[in-house]
Structure formats: C-alpha cells, structure tokens
Amino acid sequence: MLQIFKKANYNIVDKRRLAFIVSVVVILAGVVSLFLQGLNFGIDFEGGAKMQIKFNTPVTAEELRAKFTVTDFGIPEIKSSGVNEYMITINASESVDTDEVLKSVLGTMDYTLLQVDKIGPKIGHEMRSNSFKAILIALILVLIYITVRFEFKFAVGAVIALAHDVLVTFAFFSFFQWEISMPVLAAFLTIVGYSLNDTIVVYDRIRENIKVHKGKPLKDVINLSINQSLSRTVITSLTTFMVVLILAIFGGQVLFGFSIAMVVGVIVGTYSSMFVAAPILIAWEHKFKEKEEKKA
C-alpha cells in the first residue's frame, strides 16, 4: 500500500495564527494592488473589440502599431499570438466599428481573421452585473445548503473560506493584471464549488468525529479530522491540479485565463479548507464560550 502520509498526525490547528498572517498579507497585497492598478476587465465586461488576425506576410507588432497612430481609433493593445499572428484589443466606451478599423488600418494587407469578439459597452456592463449576481446567488444558496446539512457555524466558516479564496484569486488577477473574461468568471464560480468540496469533506469528518469522540476538546477533534482527510485532500488536489495545469499549458489562448484561475483556485481552495474553514470553527467556539462564561 502506497501512502503519502503514514499515520498523519500534524498539528495543523495550532498553525492557524501563522496561516492567518499569511492569508491577511496576501489579501492586503491584493487590496493594495486593487487600489493601485485595479482589475483588468476584458472586453467581455468593458465593451470593445478583440481581433485575432493572421497575416500572410511577415509583419511586426511595431509596424502594426504605427498603422494605428494615424487613425482616430487610438493605439490598441497588440500582442503576438503566434507566427505573424496578433491579438488586437481595442477597449472602447463607445462601440467600435471593427469593420471600419480593418478597412482603414489593414486595408491593403493580406490577412485572415481568426477571431473577432465585439461587445457593446451596454451589454458588457450587463454581463458584469449579471456575473456578480451569479456569484452572490451561488454563495447564498451554498450558505443555505450547509446550514441545512450542518450547523450555522459551519456555514459561516465555509463562506469565510470561500470569500477568502475568491479574494486571493482576485488578488492574483490584479497583481499580475491577468484579464478577467467570461471564462475566467466561470472559473471563479468553479473555484467556489471546488473549494466548498474540500471544505465539506473536512467538515464531514469533523461532524462524524464530534459524535465518535464525545468529550474531546473541539480543537483536537478538528485536528484529527484534518489529519484523517489529509491524504484524500492532497491526492484530489494533486489530480485536479494536474489536469488544470495541462489545460493551462496545452489548452491554448482561449482557455488560458480559465485554466490559470483554476490553478490558483485549486491551491488556495486546498489551503483554505485546512487552514481557514476548520480553524474558524475554533474561533467561533471560543467566542461562544467566553460569552457563556461571562453570563455565568
């Protein structure tokens, strides 16, 4: 029998203060970055146009940029996406007529349009509000589900862990200025689901162990539960991590945002289920006990 952890008995719960500091530092760094450079909302949410163009004759990004300097469209973002292949992104508050851009800028060049995404600013904003609505609704539904299946304090722990995961992922996206597109948002929601998955597995063990080991301090029960589910947590995270990493590497540009969000989310989700969700139960218990003692 191959085992990663033979008789796992790590004192994870007592590391919660260190974990707390790590989480707070990352989130604070994220908040600073959010203030300084914000999030890089893609055209899906801002409106604008994105064109992936393959040129049949060699051309450099500089040459393309030069062509735009003489027009009214402003200088777009031009990124290479392959041999003689470029992604041209025009962020616009007003609708851009991509046909006009192509005609007047690239008129005589020999090219093939691989992909065009053009989103009116109105529909972009609509999508943004819809998406945030979706995340919020998902969180609320999950909160209800866990309250029904477990106890309210578990639900609080799970949602704080979730908020933690989403915040940290946002922090990464702000820090590296990765573009937030529709698929990335789907990834955020998947992270919500995935992180919950991990948290619930640990909670399930805690619930079971509370019944089995009556009288044991909650802290020890929680530590035992985390240790018991440790190899499952690590193996599952490892396999999921493998598949999303492969998607990030081989999935191509379209899926890159999605995959990279998932890569970050898997790591953060695993961490939070052990170091955030479970310890919150202890913190809650402490609060609760103090109040009872005061009452007495």
Binding site: V142, P183, A186
Partner: protein
C-alpha cells in the same frame, strides 16, 4: 459475522439487478454515441453522397453538436435601436420636440442601462409635455403613459417582425441550420455556423434595407442652407477652424497629400479657392468654414474623402441640426467617385445630397428585384444593377411622382445612403426602375436579397459579435482533445500507481463518466463548446475525487483490521454522504452558471452538471458494483489491492 453474511447475500441478489442497470445505461450510451462516431469517420465524399440520399440531415441531428467556437461561425446579438425607432414613428416634429428628444438622449447617454421609453415618460412628465402632440395616439388628450405604452408595443411588434425578416434573408442567403431567436422583447440572437464571409452575412442581416425614392431640393435652396450652416459653424467656433473639430485635425495629420484646388481638373471654387488645399481652405475657412470642406463637382457637391468625418460631424452638431428646416435631409452618396487632377493624381469624393425628408415612395412597393450586369446595348453596360418591379399601388404612385417632376432630380436612397440621383426624363408608367451604384455584382445580389425579404421595421444594432474562423475552431478542438488526453493519462498513471488494483477501477469509471457525458450531450442535442471541453477535463478531477474519498475510507477500515468485505462495504457507505454533500454544492454552482451564464459559459455549465450526475452513476454505483463483484463473488478476495 452474522451481519456480514446478510450483507453478502443481500449484495449478491443486488448484484444481478446492478448488472442489469449498468447494462441498460451502457447500452443507451453506446446507442447515442454511434451516430457521432459514424459521422466523424465519414469523408467529404461520403457526406455528399448521404446528402443526396437525404440522410445527412437525419444523421447530423443525432450527433454531438459543436459550438461555434469549435467549428467556426458567427454569433450576433441584435438589439432594436429604440431612440431611432421612436424618432421614426414620431409624426409631428417641432422645435420643442427636438429639444425634448435631445434632453432624453443626454439622460440616456449617461445611463444607457436604463429603459429609454421610461426616460421619455419621466422627462415628459417632469416638463409637463404632451407626448400625444408628437407621437401617434388616439387623440390629443391621450395621456403620456398611454402614448409611451403604445410606443413600447410598437417596438415589441417591430422586433417580432424584424426576426421574421432576418429569417427570410438568411434563408435566401443560404446558411445551414441557422439559429435565430428572440430574447426578451428587444433582442434577437443569430448564430450562423461555418460561414466564409462574416462581413457579408452581417450586412445582409442588419442592413435596414430601407429603399426610398426622394426628390432633391433645388440648387438655390441648397446654397441657402449651406450659407446658413457656414454661419452656424462660425458662431460655434469663431476664428479657428482647427478647433472646430478633432476629425479635421487628425485627418490633416494622416494625409500628407496637400493638393491645391487649382490642380484639380475643372473644379474651380468661387474665386477665393485659387491657392488652397483640398483639405481645408484656410482663407475660406475663416469666412465660410463649412463650404471650405466642400468642392463643387459640376452638378453635385463633392466632399473629399478626407473631409468625410468633419462634414458628418458638423451636420450632426446639435447647433447645426437646430437651424436646419424640418423637411430637409442631408445625405451622402454610398460610394466615392474618383476625379483626376491635372497631374494625374486621383482624389476620391463623396457626394452630398440635400433631399426632401418625406420619401415619395418606399421599398414596400417592391414586388420583384433582380441583380444583374447591365446589358450590352444599354448605357449601364457591364455595371452591376438591380432591376426593381413595383406592385400595382407602387406603379401608380411611381407614375404620378415621375410625371409631376419631369426634369427634376430624384435620389434613390438605400439605408440613408444615396445610390444614385438621376434626372427624371419622362413619366415612368410601368412601375419599373433600376438601381445602380454598387461596387460589384455580389453587392447587388445582396441588395436583391434584402429588398425581396423586406426592410427591417426598426433600425437594429449589433451589440455583440463573436466570430471564430474555421481554422481556429479546428485548432481549438485539437488542443482541447490533446489536453484531455494528456490529463487523462497523467491522472490514470498517478492513480494506478497509488491505488493499484482499485486504481484501475477508478480509471475505468472515470472513462465511463466522460463517455456518459458525451452520450447525454448527443441525446439532448446539446452543444459542445470549448469551455465545455474544459468542463469535461474538470469532471475528470471530480470523478477521481469520488473514488479517492471511497478508497481512503476503505484503507482506513482495512488498516483497522476489518475484513476485506466489511472494509469495502463500510468504505462505500461512509463515503456516500461526503460525496453527496461535496457534489451537490458544485451542482448548485453549475445550475447558477447555467441560469446566468451566456453562450459558451452555458456549455461549461451543462457539461459540469451532467458530469456531476454521472459521477454518482459511474464514480459511485458502477465503481461499487465492480468492487463488490470482486469481494462478494464466488471466490471472494481476501487481500485488497488498494
């Protein structure tokens, strides 16, 4: 021990049922995937053969549909332009009306997500304006709310009609299996797979195709208007033309050819133009800033292509619009014409037309339209033209219109662009006319399509466009499949090394899971998108998780010293609750994504949803059955390979 005996006998009976259920599910899955496998193996030749037999459509209806992002195609969301539509049906226009509409527009520009019609109502009520004065209503006393509700109804009807017309146009254009769908009450989604020329398809779909026959204003009247515009522009920007408008400045930068007017063949402006550039005449600019942008082309007023934006901007300036008479429209030609300079340089001109607001006749009367090249004997030899024949009503009006205006000029206007403006030589009694002014035959053919299908009842904007070239789509499929295969092999390798015999069961159920998801996609005629492939890859992760949870439990029990059989039994039953809780929360997110996601995201949600459902079927039920058949069979194992 007694308990175990019970479990054993219970399970053995159960096993037969379990095998049966699995056989049925597998049978269904294979049956639903056969058409897809058949289709993928077909060569193009065989496809054509099947098409001739009429069997291809049937086969295609039973395969897994690829999303536009995988097969290439165009996705459009169209929305009725409410502000323009409202203007179109306004039946009385006055200064107060323009002020009012301008005010509503300003509000709308600030907050475009609000409802335009609601804004109209609020603004009218706030200014105590009677909307019944400007918009069709039963009588003058109709209250504002009813007028706006009436507008809303008209708007909704217009969208429904627009959908029909777009469907007609696409049918004539000839695209296989187009998706045309009304969303809400002012949007239409159009999805066209595998088209070669997205631009052309887009034009056909969203050109209003409003054909109008409009009389031109006479020359004196036109000159008077130009003078008035000159005065207005001077008022807005006294002195400095370069401050007038950025378009002039930026265009000036972009054009390094400064050709003097005197170089132009026979195109003398009035006296002062002797030493000016084509772009902007600096002398004239001070006195007549608008005229300075125009050129006299004999019969017509020319606008050098470089000045197009500047002229357009001036004509749309609210201050200028204010001084223009209500019964006037100023339109550009749809095409430029080139003029040779004495030095042999060619300069492109648009033509500016001053026409009546009211159309003498509109395209509704078109009964037949045919695009062709002008016949050899005619004046239009070799030129693309569209021959139009009108219905009885139209023929009468056309005869009266042409008869009463012989020697005057008449513009044939398509979507607010003048195609041609010939002089009426004779009364035309037979309801026929031809339209010229097309770049090529294809353009004329497209106009034929839209004229036949009819004009859109309301101006329509493309608010979202996603076009994927077929080559990129094929590339995406390849990348998706490659990622899935690499992912699968790595996961398989890892799990089999770690869990050995049990690992093989996990991988078998994992592959079955993917197989089932693909089967349900085929049976539901759902669409597989690139995010859907990502969902499939993620499903692998989830399926492995269910097995890991179970195996870890079994190991725990086994290490505690329990028998093989009871370890397996306990492992499965204890893990079930955890698997349920963990998967149901993901199911919730999948459902929320499906509800609120758009396009490709829904593809992801659908795959995730079914991935979770089949995770219970294969990751739990089938995996348990395989395991149990080993441990509870006739020769039960006494050692676990886990």
């Amino acid at each position: 021990m007694k308990q175990n005996m019970e479990v054993r006998s219970g399970m053995s009976k159960n096993l037969i049922w379990r095998y049966l259920i699995i056989a049925v599910v597998l049978g269904w899955a294979i049956y639903s995937l056969i058409p897809t496998l058949q289709y993928e193996r077909l060569s193009d030749k065989e496809k054509t053969a099947l098409e001739e037999e009429g069997k291809l459509v049937d086969l295609e209806s039973r395969i897994i549909k690829r999303g536009l992002d995988l097969q290439g195609g165009m996705h459009l969301i169209l929305e009725v332009n409410v502000p323009q539509f409202v203007r179109k049906i306004a039946d009385h226009q006055s200064r107060a009306y323009y002020d009012y509409m301008e005010k509503v527009d300003a509000l709308y520009a600030r907050d475009p997500e609000e409802d335009y019609l609601d804004m109209m109502l609020e603004t009218a009520n706030a200014d105590s304006l009677r909307l019944s004065r400007y918009f069709p209503s039963e009588d003058r006393k109709t209250d504002n709310r009813s007028v706006v509700e009436n507008l809303r109804k008209e708007c909704e009807q217009a969208v429904v009609r627009a959908e029909e017309i777009i469907r007609n146009r696409i049918d004539q254009f000839g695209v296989a299996e187009p998706v045309i769908q009304l969303v809400g009450n002012k949007r239409i989604i159009v999805e066209l797979a595998g088209i070669d020329d997205p631009q052309r398809a887009k034009d056909i779909i969203h050109n209003t195709a409003l054909l109008e026959f409009v009389l031109l204003k006479d020359a004196d009247y036109t000159q008077d208007i130009i003078n008035r515009i000159d005065a207005a522009v001077k008022r807005i920007t006294p002195g400095d033309i370069s401050a007038l408008d950025t378009a002039v400045v930026s265009n000036k930068k972009s054009s390094d050819k400064e050709i003097s007017v005197s170089e132009l063949l026979g195109l003398e402006e009035d006296g002062t133009a002797s030493d000016s550039s084509v772009l902007v005449d600096e002398n004239l600019a001070l006195d007549k800033p608008f005229s300075a942008l125009l050129r006299n082309l004999g019969w017509d007023i020319g606008v050098p292509a470089e000045n197009y934006y500047a002229v357009n901007k001036i004509l749309n300036d609210p201050e200028v619009v204010r001084i223009l008479p209500n019964d006037l429209r100023i339109l550009f030609s749809g095409k430029t014409q080139s003029m040779q300079t004495t030095e042999g340089k060619s300069v492109a001109f648009y033509t500016l037309y001053f026409v009546n607001r009211e159309a003498g006749l509109t395209g509704e009367v078109v009964k037949e339209a045919k695009a062709e090249l002008g016949s050899v004997s005619s004046e239009k030899m070799g030129q693309p033209i569209v021959n139009v024949r009108m219905d009885a009503e139209g023929t009468k009006t056309w005869a009266r219109l042409t008869g009463a205006n012989v020697d005057k000029r008449l513009a044939i206007v398509l979507d607010n662009k003048v195609q041609m403006a010939p002089r009426i030589e004779n009364k035309i009694p037979n309801g026929r006319t031809l339209i010229e002014g097309f770049a090529n035959l294809q353009e004329a053919q497209d106009i034929e399509i839209v004229l036949k299908a009819g004009a859109l009842p309301a101006p329509i904007d493309i608010i979202e466009e996603r076009t994927v070239g077929a080559s990129l789509g094929a590339d995406s499929v390849q990348r998706g499949v490659k990622s899935a295969l690499i992912g699968l092999s790595l996961v398989a390798l890892f799990i089999i090394i770690y869990y050995q015999g049990a690992g093989i069961i996990a991988i078998v159920t994992l592959i079955l899971n993917i197989f089932f998801v693909l089967s349900i996609l085929a049976s539901l005629r759902a669409t597989l998108t690139l995010p859907g492939i990502a969902g499939l890859v993620l499903t692998m992760g989830m399926a492995v998780d269910a097995n890991v949870l179970i195996f870890e439990r079994i190991r725990e029990e086994y290490l505690k010293g329990k028998t093989v059989r009871s370890s397996v039994e306990n492992g499965y039953s204890r893990a079930l609750i955890t698997i349920m809780d963990a998967n149901l929360t993901t199911l919730i997110t999948a459902l929320v994504l499906w509800q609120y996601g758009s396009g490709p995201i829904r593809g992801f949600a659908v795959v995730l949803f079914w991935g979770i459902i089949f995770n219970f079927v294969s990751g739990y039920f089938i995996s348990r059955t395989i395991f149990v058949s080993f441990t509870h069979g006739k020769k039960p194992l006494n050692k676990l390979s886990i």
